[in-house]
């Protein structure tokens, strides 16, 4: 789009900016005049789906956002939850899907950069990153390129900033062939009474820009790249992807945290999507003020940039801060120490307008509320998709019941969705800052809270196959599983952030999925008492009319009062007993087993009864708290058999076998490979057996002792007949190398 700054704006130009005719008419009505090109550009980004949430906002009110520990819920850069000792955690998850598909390395890297800024902008020291990544059919060579690029981008950026990447998840499914997902989570630590907000308060206060210079990169990233479907021209959008500079980000972190030690900092905000536009308008909006911005003062990479380009640039690693008048020089001194560009670029005004000044002339003048609150909440149509009637049946009688389970177990363990993610996390510095108590490879990441005896646990989850078959229950399961992972590490959940990845919202079927997904998260969060404190919506994950499976990724954050009492998933000692918490139901719908062995994605999703879920989690936490057990592992994809194998082979030392005996009236493949929820595998010494059985009796949870740890084989007998017997060394080889072998193949 090359337009002269003097062009007269019309509806055609508005459409090229991604605005609808109706939206353009609304702008004319609210302004009472025709906007100039710079002003139109500002509307186009601020009213984009990406920035305005105009399709999704009406549904999000269903989410529970309050709780006794919540200091800051949705609406700011990130959510804040009290963890006691005068401290709080700040966290959020955010998507960088479209940029990562177009340019995987930089797209993923700048995704990390953006979420880091959301966290330290609040005054928090970022201490952990996690990622939820989704790729398409592994057989497509482009997926290998994208996997390598995304992982390298995250590795490069995260490692350089000195924030450890401590966990995450990776899935492959054909539904992501045209739209991979890169969702990045960050958690920071802050003094509970030192939370900074993005507010431009105090008439006359200076507005200071600091960080990288503004260039012509990323213009229209938010409006045209993030807020539209992909098509044949997507490759041409590569110039809208920004390029990350992790070194400058590291300096920004340190300079910002230095700066925020001072009482004269009024408000601070990063320049993310829509750059200088969103940061200035949002800061003014939250404070009920205005800002006069002198564009001549904005540090620029090149000469001749127009106000339009300066305001719409999405150059990375830039911040805006308002300080009390008279403290400009002290602030600039801090930025000089860190060799960062910085300049006073404006003043807070009483009049709630943002005015842009260039060469002494006002080149744009917009009322803040019209820009920020102007976009209509769209009443998108909703319709239950027809495909559901085709996929909701699964007759187990149509599936041959295997005599033995060894082959299926090996295939599942080497399925890229289940195989060890070591090839990935080896590339991430997951230890820096010395907080990581549980390294990647267990159910949840656990980090100590420096200066206290506490620890936080984090797990990010979503099984999008379930969400495709049943978005409501799939989303409930995502919340339940994530918080179950925390329970397995000994933590109780204190807050949740979500990244809602869906297709084109203009389709009623997509909005039905969206509504169901949000409702599912809401129901599970209410029941499990987990407040939703931040989130992100990513729509238009669709290419040539084919949308992704609904993917409402959730990250749940938990707390351990005593960091020493954290738990890991692998068996610890030969001779220990193995116990299974939770009831197994005869079902295989939506399972990895069904997909891998029969190439089917159908059936009802696994059963989740929230009361049983809460009971199982509480029971697991109780056993860990009392020091009764040596391991705890959630049963998820691949069911009980895969969970057992992982207990044997995922520890840091030599693998250890187990002998398991099961008795049941249900099909053996359903028992071993079905994915019924609310089940946890534990191991414990014989001395604890009676206490644990008594505790199970008291709590009313379903519990059975099913075997012993030891030997060189994982063996499972089912109703007296051997179903699985394989050396754990062999199982480990299948599981450990699969992803790395895939990623390293040359095509």
């Amino acid at each position: 789009m090359k337009l002269s700054p003097d062009v007269t704006v019309n509806v055609q130009i508005a459409r090229e900016h991604g605005l609808t005719g109706e939206e353009y008419r609304r702008i004319l009505d609210l302004l009472g005049r025709i906007p100039n090109l710079t002003e139109l550009g500002i509307f186009s980004v601020m009213w984009s789906e990406h920035c305005s949430y105009k399709s999704s906002r009406p549904f999000l009110s269903a989410l529970p956002t309050e709780g006794p520990r919540v200091i800051q819920g949705p609406g700011e850069n990130a959510g804040v939850v009290d963890i006691g000792d005068g401290l709080a955690v700040v966290f959020k998850i955010e998507s960088h899907n479209h940029p990562s598909f177009v340019e995987p390395h930089q797209g993923a890297a700048t995704g990390v950069g953006g979420i880091l800024r959301d966290i330290f902008t609040m005054g928090a020291r970022p201490i952990a990153l996690l990622d939820s990544l989704r790729f398409g059919d592994p057989a497509d060579p482009r997926m290998r390129f994208l996997l390598n690029g995304v992982v390298e981008g995250i590795s490069n950026y995260g490692n350089c900033t000195g924030v450890p990447t401590v966990g995450g998840e990776i899935y492959f499914d054909d539904c992501y062939n045209g739209n991979i997902l890169v969702n990045v989570f960050c958690l920071g630590l802050i003094k509970a009474d030192k939370v900074f907000l993005g507010r431009a308060s105090g008439t006359g206060n200076p507005v200071i820009y600091f960080g990288s210079k503004t260039g012509r990169d990323g213009i229209h990233g938010a409006s045209l790249l993030a807020s539209a479907e992909f098509d044949e021209s997507s490759e041409e959008k590569r110039p809208t992807v920004q390029v990350g500079d992790p070194f400058t980000e590291k300096l920004l972190i340190e300079a910002s945290l230095d700066l925020m030690k001072h009482p004269w900092v009024v408000g601070i905000q990063d320049m993310g999507a829509a750059g200088l536009t969103s940061s200035s308008f949002e800061m003014a909006s939250r404070a009920g003020t205005g800002i006069d911005l002198d564009l001549d003062q904005v540090p620029r990479r090149e000469k001749g940039m127009t106000p339009y380009e300066i305001m719409l640039s999405e150059s990375q690693e830039r911040m805006l801060v308002v300080v009390e008048a008279g403290h400009e020089e002290e602030a600039l001194e801090i930025f000089r120490k860190w060799d960062l560009d910085a300049a006073v670029v404006g003043r807070v005004t009483e009049q709630p307008r943002v005015r842009l000044i260039e060469g002494g002339d006002v080149v744009a003048d917009l009322p803040v509320h019209v820009v920020v609150e102007g976009p209509l909440s769209l009443k998108r149509k909703i319709r239950r998709p027809n495909y559901l009637d085709e996929v909701d049946h699964l007759n187990l009688n149509d599936l041959p019941e295997p005599d033995r389970g060894d082959a299926a177990l090996k295939r599942l363990l080497s399925s890229l969705n289940i195989a060890s993610k070591e090839w990935v996390y080896d590339q991430y510095d997951h230890m820096v800052r010395l907080n990581t108590l549980v390294l990647p490879g267990s159910d949840a990441a656990v980090l100590r809270v420096p200066g206290t005896s506490k620890a936080v646990a984090i797990s990010v989850d979503c099984n999008s196959r379930y969400c495709y078959l049943d978005p409501f229950n799939g989303a409930r399961i995502a919340v339940a599983e994530s918080s179950r992972n925390l329970a397995c590490s000994g933590a109780f959940p204190i807050g949740l952030t979500n990244c809602l990845n869906f297709g084109n919202p203009e389709k009623p079927e997509i909005m039905w999925q969206f509504e169901q997904g949000v409702q599912g998260i809401a129901e599970a969060c209410k029941f499990l008492e987990i407040p939703v404190v931040s989130g992100n919506v990513s729509l238009y994950n669709e290419t040539r009319g084919i949308g992704i499976f609904p993917t409402p990724t959730v990250a749940v954050v938990g707390l351990l009062e005593d960091s020493r009492k954290h738990m890991t998933q692998w068996f610890k000692r030969t001779g220990d007993f193995v116990g299974l918490i939770g009831l197994t139901i005869e079902e295989l719908g939506g399972s990895e087993y069904l997909k891998v062995m029969f190439e089917q994605v159908c059936g009802g999703v696994p059963t989740l009864e929230l009361r049983a879920e809460r009971q199982a989690q509480e029971f697991c936490r109780e056993l860990i708290g009392k020091g009764f057990i040596a391991s705890a592992h959630d049963c998820s994809e691949g069911g009980l058999a895969v969970a057992l194998a992982e207990c044997c082979i995922s520890g840091p030392g030599q693998p250890v076998g187990a002998a398991i005996e099961l008795e049941s009236t249900i099909r053996r493949d359903a028992f071993l490979f079905g994915e019924t929820q609310s089940r946890i595998l534990i191991s414990f010494s014989g001395e604890r057996r009676e206490e644990i059985l008594a505790a199970a009796e008291r709590s009313g949870v379903d519990f059975a002792v099913i075997g012993r740890v030891g030997g060189e084989d994982l063996s499972v007998t089912f109703n007296g007949a051997e179903f699985i017997r394989t050396r754990v060394e062999v199982l480990r080889n299948f599981w450990k190398g699969a992803l790395g072998e895939y990623a390293r193949q040359v095509t």
């Binding site: 490069n156 350089c160 500079d245 230890m431 800052r433 010395l434």
Partner: protein, 239 residues
């Protein structure tokens, strides 16, 4: 805990990110009075018993790891300090900076995997008679993590023979039982070299991170040996 007059400096370059970790271990685990020194300072370091150049990505590792940091004002003082016999420990990026500054021979190339690697590895103490290893038994195997992209140690043949002859190779990568060789070499380092000392024995560079395995909160504490040795050798220099 050590005598409270023991003092150490941790140099902070723009992009250092293991500076806090080193500070934490020295100050809170070993009780050494520790001070951060900003790289722009041109101060005399002689008041410190030893100086640590921590890991991280000084100047983003742009150009080449350590290549820009060696021009930082503080490096003049570090060079002078080392020349006067002061003990300097460079970890990871610190090692890379020492090599770029010419305080240690050789170079650190990109890992032969062409990937960043973060994981626990084993290193063998090849020389237990240095100021940095004197509390280790000769041939001891330590479990210490690495976290780097440019850790492949390289030197020309002549330099390598000199290093070996002078017993300047202090740590080599090995397996759990102390065996070296290709299989135990994570990054393509020549002769499996993980850490070397200068000829005078007062400057050590190592790619593994001893500070990551030195806090008793974790089960692995082999890294304590390096700091313990350094502290003891400063307290009683004669071995």
């Amino acid at each position: 805990m050590v005598d409270s007059i023991m003092k150490s400096a941790v140099v902070v370059f723009p992009g250092s990110n293991c500076d806090h970790d080193c500070y934490h271990i020295l100050k809170h685990v070993f009780g050494v009075e520790t001070e951060f020194i900003w790289h722009k300072e041109e101060r005399d370091l002689s008041a410190f018993n030893f100086v640590v150049l921590p890991g991280g990505f000084s100047y983003g590792d742009y150009l080449r790891a350590g290549a820009i940091a060696r021009f930082s004002p503080i490096m003049k003082a570090v060079t002078r300090y080392a020349g006067d016999g002061g003990r300097v420990l460079g970890i990871c990026n610190g090692f890379q900076i020492l090599v770029e500054a010419g305080l240690l021979p050789g170079a650190l190339l990109h890992n032969d995997t062409q990937k960043f690697i973060c994981r626990h590895v084993y290193v063998k103490v090849e020389n237990a008679a240095t100021a940095f290893t004197r509390t280790c038994s000769p041939g001891a195997v330590l479990k210490i993590p690495i976290a780097h992209h440019q850790g492949g140690y390289y030197a020309d043949r002549e330099t390598l023979s000199r290093l070996e002859a002078n017993r300047q190779v202090v740590f080599t990568y090995c397996d759990e039982s102390g065996r070296g060789g290709e299989a135990a070499n994570p990054n393509g380092s020549m002769n499996n070299i993980a850490g070397i000392v200068n000829e005078a024995g007062n400057v050590l560079g190592m790619m593994p991170h001893p500070e990551r395995v030195a806090d008793p909160l974790w089960p692995d504490v082999d890294g304590q040996r390096v700091f313990q040795s350094l502290i003891e050798s400063c307290a009683s220099p004669a071995l």
